[in-house]
Structures are given as structure tokens and as C-alpha cells.
Amino acid sequence: MAEMVFQRTKGLQDRPFHYCPGCTHGIIHRLVAEALVELDVLDKAIGVAPVGCSVFAYDYFNCDMQEAAHGRAPAVATGIKRVHPDKVVFSYQGDGDLASIGTAEIVHAAMRGEKITTIFVNNAIYGMTGGQMAPTTLVGQKATTSPFGRDKDHAGSPIRISEMLATLDGPAYIERVTVTTPAHVRKAKRAIKKAFQTQIEGKGFTMVEVLSTCPTNWGLTPVEALRWLEENMIPYYPLGVYKAPEEVK
């Protein structure tokens, strides 16, 4: 008899992803879905989709979903969680959505200690709109609106969201992870599960920032993109726990 080691989770709808080859959205969606199933909260989950490559997330997660305006997902999630405090509410956002247009919304949801979980997909670029500079684009990194490389004097240095939100009292758990190797993927999954678990325990705002690739707009193959992330993004965005639930009184 064979024993199943890995099969597609029922937390995802039976629908192929539209994402580019090698795009880490596919991995991250799966981890979120698996976490909800393993915590047995899939039928209590309500997710909020962003604007960005993952705008169709409402077609992939096998739970109730709301599509939000660009950047507004934490406010939408706040509305949902205040109406249904017993449900597991999450937002799934990219770096344009969360770190640019939606910075006020994420900061204030975190400040209020809104009991939601935010999955922040940071790939240092704007994917869906064709590769423009993001607030998370590295100094020197080329993007279509920073064609000569991001200039620190002109456009500033990139924003470290996990560190920034960790200065607030509202967050109960913030961790930055990545998905460039199977070991990292397994660690990212544990972080996502912990974030949902911390929400279920009512401790406060939780976020997992996932350093991700965008092979298409970085102009690299999917495999090269993983290595570029490890060499360039991890030094600037160190992996690790920035707020631990054990610290929350």
C-alpha cells in the first residue's frame, strides 16, 4: 500500500493558477490553504484579495473571499472581523498594495491590533502592471520606472515593513520568511500556521512577510530568480521573527 506524502490541498479550488512559471505566489497560496485546512478552519475563513497579480485569489482559495480596492484590504478585513469576530480573517497582499498605496491601512490595522492575519508577498517590484519600481525595490535595482537603477537620493531607500510594524503594540506575531528552498518553504508554512493560530487565540494582529520572486519582471529564469533573492533581498530584508506572541501580555 502506498502512503500519500503530498497531494493538492482541498483548501485550494480545483483551478490552475494563472501565475507566471516559477512565480512564488503559487507556493504561498498553497501554504495558506494548507494551513487553513490543517487548523480545521477552512469553513470559518474569510479572505481579502488585493489588486496585483493575485487579484484573482478569490478564484483560488476555497473559502469565502472579498475583493478589495488597491491597498484597502486591511480596512476591508477590519470590517469583516468586527462583524464576525469568531471567523478567521486574512488579507493577502503584494508590495504595491501593502507598502505603497495601502500603508496607512496596514499600519492602522496593526496599530489597532486587529485580529486578522496578513500575508505580505514582497517581491521588490510591481508585477501585474509590468515591472515598475515598488517601495520595496532595492537601491540600484532596475525597474521600468527606475530604468537606471533605483537612486537613493531621488527615490529613497526601500521600506522594511516587518521591522516597522513590529514597533507597534498591536501586532502579536510578525515573521519574515522566504520560499526559495524546500527547507524555507516548510519554515514559511510553520510561520503562516502560527500566524493563524495566534489570530485564533485572539492575541492581536499577525503578519507573515514572504520574500518572493518575480522572474518575469526581474528578467531572470525562475531558478536564477530564487538565487537573486537569496543573494540580494535577504541581506536587506533579514529573515526572522520580529514580534513573538510570547511577548504579548
Binding site: 500519500m4 506524502v5 503559487g26 518553504v185 525562475p222
Partner: protein, 77 residues
């Protein structure tokens, strides 16, 4: 002592040829099938030397499109 053996199955029509799986196999048996293309036009990932598979699940873990299913086989399989 019995060796762990695995069986991986690929839903070839979902594969986008990203090759991430080929970089994480500890026994280096995951390859892109150069002799065929799927409906999307990619060479799908595949395993030819299944007897070497140890059911670690790394390939399925890194695959963004849940192309791969992994089973662990008992000795008499």
C-alpha cells in the same frame, strides 16, 4: 533495513516548465522531459528513474502549481 522508496506522479498539463523541482531533488532524478511538450507548450517535469525516489517531497514542496503528487511505498510494493 528497508530503504524508503517513493512514487511521484506529475499532472503534466499543469506544468509551466519553471524547473524549480529539478534543483531540489536530493537524488537528482527530476528532469524536464525534452521529448514532449504539454498543452501549454512547456516541457513538463518528469522522473525516469523512479526506483531512486526517496519520497522526500522536496519537488512537490517547491512546485508553485501542485503538479506533483508524492507517495511513499512499502517494501512489497
Amino acid at each position: 533495513m528497508a530503504k524508503v522508496r517513493g512514487k511521484v506522479t506529475f499532472k503534466e498539463h499543469l506544468c509551466k516548465g519553471c524547473e524549480l523541482c529539478t534543483t531540489v531533488c536530493p537524488v537528482d532524478i527530476v528532469k524536464m522531459a525534452k521529448d514532449r511538450i504539454n498543452t501549454k507548450g512547456y516541457h513538463p517535469a518528469t522522473v525516469d528513474e523512479m526506483e531512486k525516489c526517496i519520497a522526500c517531497g522536496n519537488c512537490a514542496t517547491i512546485c508553485p502549481d501542485t503538479v506533483i503528487q508524492v507517495e511513499r511505498l512499502r517494501d512489497n510494493d
